[in-house]
């Protein structure tokens, strides 16, 4: 079964760890994209601690996606801890399939381990160049290495190529129609 990585003020406790054999997924697969829902006001240090715990399950180049509503928008400084940083040029979310959603309604912020390279931005490349760049980078991965990139849209033609190469991947579509895709070369 699938596993949902959740950090929530309403459900205290450490975030779920990475996939395990008991849930039918590969043992040892890192979490490249982890979603943290429902940022709520409260003790910023408690929230930061939870995010910190979520980051513990994250691959060194992985991305943590934090969702918040405009009412409970997390203060920017809350993210600036010693262990993680915000990915620059984060697309503000709104539901791209729901016109009523606007940038002020919802927001996704992307966090990474401090010092991790930001996701490679392939959005400004015409098809099929994002696919080509992604496959180039994936081909150069060392065992245990991972690659995360932001593509202009859901990469339907990339996913079967990753499967054919035996590279596990994770995908998350963002509000600007782009998609974050992380892949990992097994040890």
């Amino acid at each position: 079964m699938t596993k949902i990585h959740t950090v929530s003020a309403a459900s205290p406790g450490p975030p779920a760890a990475g996939p395990s054999a008991s849930d039918g997924t590969q043992v040892g697969c890192p979490s490249l994209l982890v979603e943290a829902l429902n940022w709520a006001p409260g003790d910023p240090s408690a929230m930061a601690a939870r995010l910190d715990a979520a980051l513990a399950s994250l691959h060194p180049v992985g991305v943590l996606l934090v969702l918040s509503s405009s009412i409970h928008a997390p203060p920017a400084l809350a993210f600036d801890t010693a262990r993680f940083h915000r990915v620059p040029a984060v697309p503000l979310a709104g539901d791209r399939d729901n016109e009523r959603a606007t940038q002020s309604d919802d927001a996704v912020q992307l966090l990474q381990h401090r010092g991790a390279p930001p996701p490679t931005d392939l959005r400004d490349l015409p098809a099929p160049e994002p696919l080509q760049h992604y496959l180039d980078a994936a081909a150069r991965l060392q065992p245990g290495g991972a690659f995360v990139a932001q593509l202009p849209r859901r990469p339907r033609m990339l996913l079967p190529q990753l499967e054919a190469r035996g590279l596990p991947y994770q995908l998350r579509e963002l509000s600007d129609a782009s998609a974050l895709v992380g892949c990992w070369r097994p040890l």
Partner: protein, 482 residues
């Protein structure tokens, strides 16, 4: 806001084999060459009146041989990739191609020779094409789950790491743009079914195999099957609802994808879908009204049919081109791209099609009808189709043959497979041919007409050679590469 990630996309088995779209795409330039030879042979005769048999042949070389041929191949390719709906029984596509090619050739001979047996054969072959093409398409496009939605199920794939899945209020698996394209494709395929049925009836009428009326006992009304209202219905549905509808729906996907333009806003897409539905429904209702003898008024049924097609024509020749022009101007990165020239030219021709079409309704000068047809088939739709061929064929060849080898051997990029210089040559040849054709129509000059034929032939050869070279490309064997 919703979180939704699906672990799997298409499997490679769901994507159509490269041979399926390529067969259609490589046949289209052959018909373009035939059109050139036809114009070279008949010269100015083709530019006298749209109802001249040789002109009808030229028209169908363009509509069946170039436009429909390419659009069938594109639908086989795009359904799985863009809207995540694999076409069932994909191997039938080769038979569909054969039936379209032979049926189209038979129809061309029948139109020229006026031989009843040829009309009968053409009708049979094209009916086979229509059924074998539409049935799998209807199954793929019908209500059901897309590959993305199926991917929400627990996957057996050992490589897919499950991501957090759908939360309450999650968006549908397809993006709004893809859903708009899906609806547009459904409408255009309905239009194809209606348009082709009308065309087959016209062929049977021309061959003398269909007379009188559809059995009155089966219907509450007596529907007269007359050529007069059927012909404008066939033309309106073919150019506006089928070709226009599909170009419009597909442009929402391919223009942002290939040229990095902003997406067409959803509100505009919705209005255009309504206009596409009107392009199908209004002429059909007018035809039914006319056929039941209920039509009364100062307008003839033919004129009423043309007027009924106007809302749809406004959508495909004015509204969508304006949106596309706006999007192209606002490109995020203005990279030089020769195939974009085709889109620009096609977009520029679209409003002139509308003007010429409207003028042809108001004024009986046959040159206006000829100019409208020429601009519509070769100027607007033909130009866009040629541009897409230059973009899609290298893309597909690269995807199927090169991308699996990335990391194993050095492979060229899709752009290197078809250099811009060749695309630019095709573009200029085609643009010159369009102008020559318009001049030939305006003047009736034989030399200009034959130059137009030469232009069509040169464009066809240039496009065909370019695409064939791309299709022949084989990457180096990883085993033999050090």
């Amino acid at each position: 806001m919703s979180f939704g990630g699906q672990p799997a996309g298409l499997s490679l088995a769901q994507a159509p084999p490269l041979s399926v779209p390529l067969t259609f795409f490589l046949t289209a330039p052959c018909f373009l060459c035939l059109a050139g030879l036809w114009v070279l042979w008949h010269g100015e005769l083709l530019f006298l009146h749209p109802a001249v048999p040789a002109t009808l042949v030229l028209t169908h070389l363009g509509t069946l041989g170039v436009l429909t041929m390419t659009m069938c191949g594109a639908l086989y390719q795009m359904l799985p990739v863009v809207v995540a709906r694999p076409v069932p029984n994909i191997r039938l596509a080769h038979l569909v191609h054969l039936l379209l090619t032979t049926g189209g050739a038979c129809l061309l001979c029948a139109l020229q020779l006026r031989e009843p047996a040829l009309f009968g054969t053409a009708t049979g072959l094209l009916l086979g094409w229509l059924l074998l093409f539409l049935w799998p398409m209807a199954r793929a496009l019908g209500p059901g789950r897309s590959a993305d939605q199926l991917a929400d199920q627990p996957s057996d794939l050992p490589t897919a790491i499950p991501m957090p899945l759908r939360m309450p209020g999650a968006p549908p698996a397809l993006s709004a743009t893809a859903q708009g394209t899906l609806r547009g494709m459904r409408l255009s395929l309905l239009a194809l079914a209606a348009m082709a049925t009308a065309g087959l009836c016209l062929a049977l009428l021309a061959g003398g195999m269909l007379r009188g009326a559809v059995a009155p006992s089966l219907l509450p009304w007596h529907i007269a099957l007359a050529r007069a209202p059927l012909l404008p219905w066939h033309i309106a549905l073919a150019l506006v609802a089928w070709v226009g509808g599909l170009i419009t729906a597909v442009s929402w996907q391919v223009v942002p994808m290939f040229y990095l333009t902003p997406e067409i806003p959803p509100a505009h897409r919705r209005r255009l879908l309504h206009l596409a539905a009107a392009a199908l429904l209004l002429p059909t209702l007018t035809l039914l009204t006319a056929a039941m003898g209920q039509f009364a008024g100062a307008l003839s049924p033919t004129h009423a049919l043309w007027i009924a097609a106007l809302p749809g024509a406004f959508g495909v020749w004015l509204y969508n081109p304006w949106l596309l022009h706006r999007a192209v101007v606002a490109r995020r990165r203005k990279l030089p791209d020769a195939s974009l020239g085709f889109w620009r030219l096609g977009i520029a021709c679209a409003p002139i099609c509308l003007l010429c079409g409207a003028a042809a309704i108001l004024h009986p000068d046959p040159r206006l009808s000829l100019a409208a047809g020429w601009l519509c088939i070769w100027g607007w739709a033909g130009t866009i189709v040629l541009g897409m061929l230059h973009r899609i064929v290298p893309f597909l060849v690269w995807f199927h043959r090169c991308s699996p080898l990335i990391g194993a051997v050095k492979v060229p990029s899709a752009r290197q497979l078809l250099p811009d210089t060749r695309t630019r040559q095709a573009y200029w040849l085609h643009a010159l041919t369009l102008l020559l054709g318009l001049a030939a129509i305006a003047t009736g000059n034989g030399a200009l007409a034959r130059l137009t034929g030469l232009g069509l032939l040169s464009t066809g050869v240039r496009v065909g050679v370019s695409l064939a070279r791309v299709a022949r490309y084989r990457p180096p064997d990883p085993q033999s590469t050090p």
